[in-house]
């Protein structure tokens, strides 16, 4: 008997292993919650949308492996929240999260606000004239304009794979670090997507407004929109990261989309320069991959008649002016490229749900 007991114990130990649990919560529809955050709640039928098509999109993010790391999907139409779901954790409705490279689009918006306020006179102004102390002796770098940086055409040899981490780690000036990199192309010629250029824009806004980018955004963008919980990381020199690391709640991210849809106006007050916004959301350059179209830190999507902020993990903020549609999709922000989601598929389904 003792031997049998011993055998049972040994087999129990030998067979012990851990089990997978589902990534996501069970799908319970997309009806928005009522919260006191300024959003009017509606439903697909009232906003002339096909709820069954919308349901396909929500089923995808809940059950399809291609959307493994999905955290939220929100659909706004006619300035109303029509649908929302948080497939990973219901608490994500009230949680700020890193929107990664969508941050670049917010930096672009802040440039538009600085233009609107007359802090930046011209996008053709050279960065060298704004902060000459960070430049080395390479005369090619001195020709870089704000617009060159807004369109990723500084020509600097910044590679996200290695230099983004260095940008975080450097104890000296983050601007001096970016500008210390070799000038690979003449400025204004070739678009190369990189995190270094928005850092230069961040510093330009800081120098022009006298406030670091995050503080300026809080005063001129977040506060007017009622966005109270946010975080924006800075480099060790205090310069706000222009490319990444803004943390927002999904519903607040939607407010920024709505501001864009309203041509920069919020409560009938103009916040962003409309001319700048028109330039920022129209094709300026063709990207160095997939022949994607790019404005001032916005991806231009002619097929959808819209534009988007896009970030790591497949996250996006889609704005489709003809449909009066805004879509927010957030995902776990730190996955590798292997787990990038299928943003365009999701966008297409939701746009098709609009009658």
């Amino acid at each position: 008997m003792k031997k049998v007991n011993l055998l049972i114990v040994m087999l129990s130990v030998l067979s012990s292993c851990m089990k997978d649990e589902p990534f996501k919560t069970a799908y319970r529809g997309f009806e928005p919650s009522v919260m006191n955050d300024g959003w009017e709640i509606s439903n697909p039928e009232n906003e002339n949308m096909d709820g069954s098509i919308l349901d396909q999109a929500y089923m995808l993010v809940h059950s399809d492996d291609r959307y493994l790391m999905a955290r939220s999907l929100l659909v706004f139409r006619n300035n109303k929240l029509v649908a929302e779901a948080y497939p990973y954790d219901a608490a994500d409705i009230d949680a700020i999260q890193n929107i990664q490279s969508c941050t670049k689009s917010i930096t672009s918006i802040m440039t538009g606000i600085a233009v609107h306020e007359g802090k930046i006179d011209s996008l053709t102004e050279k960065l060298f004239s704004i902060y000459p102390e960070y430049f080395d002796q390479d005369i090619h770098k001195r020709t870089i304009s704000i617009e060159d940086a807004l369109t990723m055409r500084t020509g600097l040899g910044f590679d996200n794979g290695t230099h983004t981490l260095e940008l975080y780690k450097t104890n000296s000036s983050s601007i001096a670090y970016v500008l210390s990199l070799e000038s690979v192309y003449p400025s204004g010629m070739i678009m190369k997507y990189k995190d270094g250029d928005p850092q230069l824009v961040s510093k330009a806004i800081e120098m022009k407004t006298g406030k670091k980018l995050s503080d300026y955004a809080n005063e001129k963008l977040f506060s007017p929109l009622g966005i109270t919980e946010w975080k924006w990381e800075s480099a060790k020199d205090g310069t706000t990261f222009g490319a990444v690391s803004l943390f927002l709640k999904p519903r607040d991210f939607g407010k920024i989309g709505q501001l864009l849809l309203q041509n920069g106006k919020w409560d009938n007050i103009s916040i962003i320069d409309s001319t700048y916004l028109s330039l920022a959301t129209s094709i300026k350059v063709t990207a160095d991959f997939n022949e994607a179209q790019y404005g001032y830190y916005f991806w231009i999507l002619p097929a959808f008649e819209g534009y988007a902020a896009e970030g790591h993990g497949g996250q996006f903020l889609l704005v489709v002016p003809p449909k009066k549609l805004v879509v927010v999709y957030t995902a776990w922000p730190y996955t590798s490229g292997d787990f990038f989601d299928q943003a365009s598929e999701l966008m297409s389904i939701i746009i098709n749900s609009c009658n």
């Binding site: 040994m10 130990v13 030998l14 012990s16 292993c17 851990m18 089990k19 997978d20 649990e21 589902p22 990534f23 492996d65 493994l68 790391m69 949680a95 700020i96 890193n98 981490l165 975080y168 780690k169 975080k231 990381e233 990261f241 990444v244 690391s245 943390f247 776990w332 730190y334 996955t335 590798s336 292997d338 787990f339």
Partner: protein, 304 residues
């Protein structure tokens, strides 16, 4: 009764192992062939039990007082096995993969047993969603135990005592989080039980059960509101040694089961085939659980 030196004499045909230390000094004179049953003093045993309970209640770390004529033994073990990680601060999927490592054990024994071991293990793992094992997990652990002989018969012996274990358990999951390091470091105080069966002249079965009672542990924040960890040496050291939480088995629990068959391929050397199961669960107040499950086999060589 023969003395300890009898074991060191040239007439000894087999080398001494950790197991032999359990037998000293009472069993020092007892021939394994004759398998003489050695009686023990009941009163003395009760006193030992009281001391053990006191140590366990206080969670005390007991340091060995090694007699001058104590016997020292060392062993090296090569480890191979299967490692499972479930880091729910990332997601609730299990990362599985092979683990390999090496451990060194140093044992001092006379009346009681004082034992120290250190091990390092390395593993690559993946979930069912990944083609290649990108996840890496490393363990660096050390433990100390002080064991009292509870009973000691010719075929079976049982020892019990307090143990302290310290472990750095560090993982990277680059496919899931290419920006951050994950860790579940801990120091635990607990108890260790060892049961020995002498199967034959040269074969011995060894069962070891350790578990934690009190622990200090640290994990990274669940919501890391920053893109990158401080990856400098100073930053890593600081992260690994700050914001420790304290708790008992509801917050941090480690269970280690070790089975070993010792045998002699030649008179000068003792070897052992080993199987171990190691389970760790840690859950801080502001974190989701981390679990680590290891099944491993090993080959151990004892030497002086």
């Amino acid at each position: 009764m023969k003395t300890l030196n009898n074991f060191k004499s040239k007439s000894m045909k087999i080398s001494l192992t950790f197991v032999d230390l359990f037998l000293l000094p009472e069993m020092a004179g007892a021939s394994r062939v004759s398998r003489t049953i050695v009686s023990y003093n009941t009163k003395n045993l009760n006193m030992k039990r009281s001391i053990i309970i006191l140590f366990l209640l206080l969670g005390a770390n007991v340091f060995a007082q090694v007699p001058v004529n104590s016997l020292q033994r060392n062993s090296l073990q090569l480890i191979f096995g299967v490692n499972q990680l479930k880091e729910e601060n990332l997601h609730a999927k299990v990362h599985s993969g092979l683990i390999t490592g090496i451990s060194y054990q140093h044992c001092l024994g006379s009346k009681n047993i004082s034992d120290f071991d250190i091990s390092i293990k390395w593993s690559r793992a993946k979930t069912a969603y990944e083609d290649l094992s990108a996840t890496a997990n490393a363990h660096l652990s050390g433990s100390y135990r002080y064991l009292f002989k509870i009973f000691n018969l010719s075929e079976i012996s049982y020892v019990l005592g307090p143990q302290i274990n310290m472990q750095y358990n560090v993982s990277v999951y680059p496919n899931w989080d290419e920006s951050h390091l994950y860790w579940a470091n801990h120091i635990d105080l607990g108890t260790d039980n060892i049961l020995l069966y002498r199967l034959s002249e040269s074969g011995i079965l060894f069962f070891d059960l350790r578990f934690s009672i009190f622990s200090a542990f640290n994990q990274p924040e669940y919501n890391r509101m920053y893109k990158y960890d401080d990856s400098t040496f100073e930053g890593i050291v600081k992260n690994f040694h700050s914001d420790y939480e304290f708790g008992s088995v509801n917050k941090a629990f480690r269970l280690a089961i070790h089975m070993e068959y010792q045998f002699h391929l030649n008179p000068k050397c003792t070897q052992a085939l080993c199987y171990s199961y190691d389970y760790l669960r840690i859950k801080g107040n502001e974190n989701l659980p981390f679990q680590n499950n290891i099944h491993q086999v090993g080959f151990k060589i004892y030497f002086r």
